[in-house]
Amino acid sequence: MTAKRLRIAAVIVISLIFILAWMFPILWSFLNSLKTDKDVLAYPPKVLFAPTLEAYRDVLFGSASILPNLVSSFIISIGTTVITMLLAVPAAYALARLRFPGKRFAGFYVLATQMLPPVGIIIPYFLVLRGIGWIDTYQGIILIYLSFSLPFAIWLLVSYFEDIPFEMEEAAYLDGASRLRTLWRIIIPQVRGGISVTVVFVFLNAWNEFLFAVVLSGNTVRPVTVAMYNFISVEQTLWTKLAAVSVLAMLPVILLGIFAQKHIVKGLTVGAVKGGGRR
């Protein structure tokens, strides 16, 4: 009996270590965001303290507000998501359901584009955007975000389109409906779930992007992932503000992640089944 109890205790201890390890940096940022600078720098670290929302008030409504950056992040992420879906849904349907020559190659091409290192895309793109004056613009950033969101969305959607039974389309054709009408009226409603999962992941990836954003952003367009860098400088770190901004940057994606919990493994491994990698 004691051996069994010992084993249960071991299981609980190991579980706690891992769960704590994964939660801690997030939890600690949250706790620090509620402290004063003095409490953050206390030694030993304070777990009990008088919480204050001062840091949030400062970063949201203070002189160096990051509200415009949060708005930037939302505009970029929503813009990327809308354009990606408009392009990806028809393409994924064609790849999943229609017969046409070169179909295998088209599918392979979509996967192969993901092999390209992002740094290899941003160097030439920077030169082009500089030439046409699109640095520090929403259209510049959103356009280049298609390079990773589009292949991802197409492959994720293909897997959902493939699940619909063929009979539904055939019945619609026999009724004399056109292909476009069938797609819009019969097929799209069937993959509503898949489309919303794809929307969540495209938004998430756009929100989290950093390399393209750091090169292309300026005073007008600067997403929060880039802006929070301002809270650390060689001279000083604005501890509580940095913690508050981190929490604000983490909040939307954590909520989306929990919302899409059941689909996360599929979203993370999309395309890999057919043989590719994802950024």
Partner: protein, 311 residues
């Protein structure tokens, strides 16, 4: 009656059924091209075009700080690259970073998946917590680790180190510790990915094989070695391939934590190409470095896919 586009589906009566089939096939082709064209135009513009332009710029000297020296130089950038010790050092940093993070993720992820699989309660909690790190931006993760975790004295890691008798360390200032730190951060964020994928594959394995093995009195280790591991092999190889590609092009979680430093201690090839292009403004040479990274990526993925195909 549904009235769709102008061309209806019913072919005129005088066309034989074979012709009708051909007409339908042609319509399907045309419809497919119309649906694919916008997405493929966007993909060509945002991936294929940059690739070609990248290869083209790598044949130039493009120095934004000294534009008067710019011009076509053929393969000189690549000749310089082969003689550039910083290139070779960044390549070896890339290899160390990639191999250690992938091995750690798979080893810990697999161990934990097996551990959780044996739990009667609490699996749901693990699945929920595992989501948290992977949905975060590596840039934010990097910032949080750099400050609240690794800062000497105030950081929790340093606090633990002091209490463990190891003393306060300059985690990001010492070359070896900085490398270990960025490896740990990447492993922290992405082990849940390996864990979730392997747990899902484990849960999908058939039970009856294990029953048979238990009746044959196979030990736990034998069951793992002879049954679980071979059955999980496709999933493990898939995780290795995906994580290798990501580790090779890791950027934000190194850039925000060490910036590649101290010196070039944590400068992976990806980061070197960035720094050369956008910090030192030597875009032609930066392009050559990015092409080198692409070549490395292709060689490694070809090798991994060969492993995947091999039985």
């Amino acid at each position: 009656m549904l009235t769709g586009s102008g061309t209806s589906m019913d072919a005129p009566a005088f066309i034989s059924s074979m012709d009708a089939g051909r007409v339908l096939a042609r319509r399907e082709r045309r419809f497919a091209s119309a649906l694919l064209a916008p997405a493929f135009a966007a993909l060509l513009a945002t991936t294929t075009f940059p690739l070609l332009y990248l290869i083209w710029t790598s044949a130039f000297r493009i120095d934004l700080a000294m534009p008067f020296t710019n011009g076509f130089i053929g393969i000189d950038n690549y000749r310089d690259l082969l003689a550039d010790s910083r290139f070779w050092s960044s390549l070896s940093v890339s290899m160390i970073y990639t191999i250690s993070t992938v091995v750690l993720q798979v080893a810990i992820g697999l161990g934990l998946a097996l551990f959780v699989m044996g739990m009667k309660k609490g699996q749901g909690l693990f699945r929920l917590i595992a989501i948290l790190p992977v949905v975060l931006s590596p840039a934010v993760v990097g910032m949080v680790w750099r400050t609240f975790m690794l800062q000497p004295e105030f950081g929790i890691v340093d606090f633990l180190s002091i209490n463990a008798g190891l003393g306060s360390q300059n985690w990001l200032g010492d070359p070896t510790l900085a490398m270990i730190s960025v490896i740990v951060i990447h492993t922290w964020q992405w082990t849940p990915f390996a864990f979730m994928v392997l747990l899902a594959s484990l849960a999908a394995l058939p039970d009856d094989i294990y029953e048979a093995a238990r009746i044959d009195r196979a030990s736990a280790w034998q069951r793992f070695r002879r049954i679980t591991l071979p059955l999980l092999r496709p999933a493990i190889v898939m995780v290795v391939i995906m994580r290798t590609m990501v580790a090779l092009t890791a950027f934000a979680a190194i850039f925000t934590v060490t910036g590649g430093g101290p010196g070039t201690a944590t400068e992976i090839l990806n980061l070197y190409a960035y720094r050369k292009s956008f910090t030192e403004l030597s875009i032609g040479y930066g392009s050559a470095l990015a092409v080198a990274l692409l070549v490395v990526t292709i060689i490694i993925s070809a090798a991994l896919f060969a492993v995947r195909r091999a039985k």
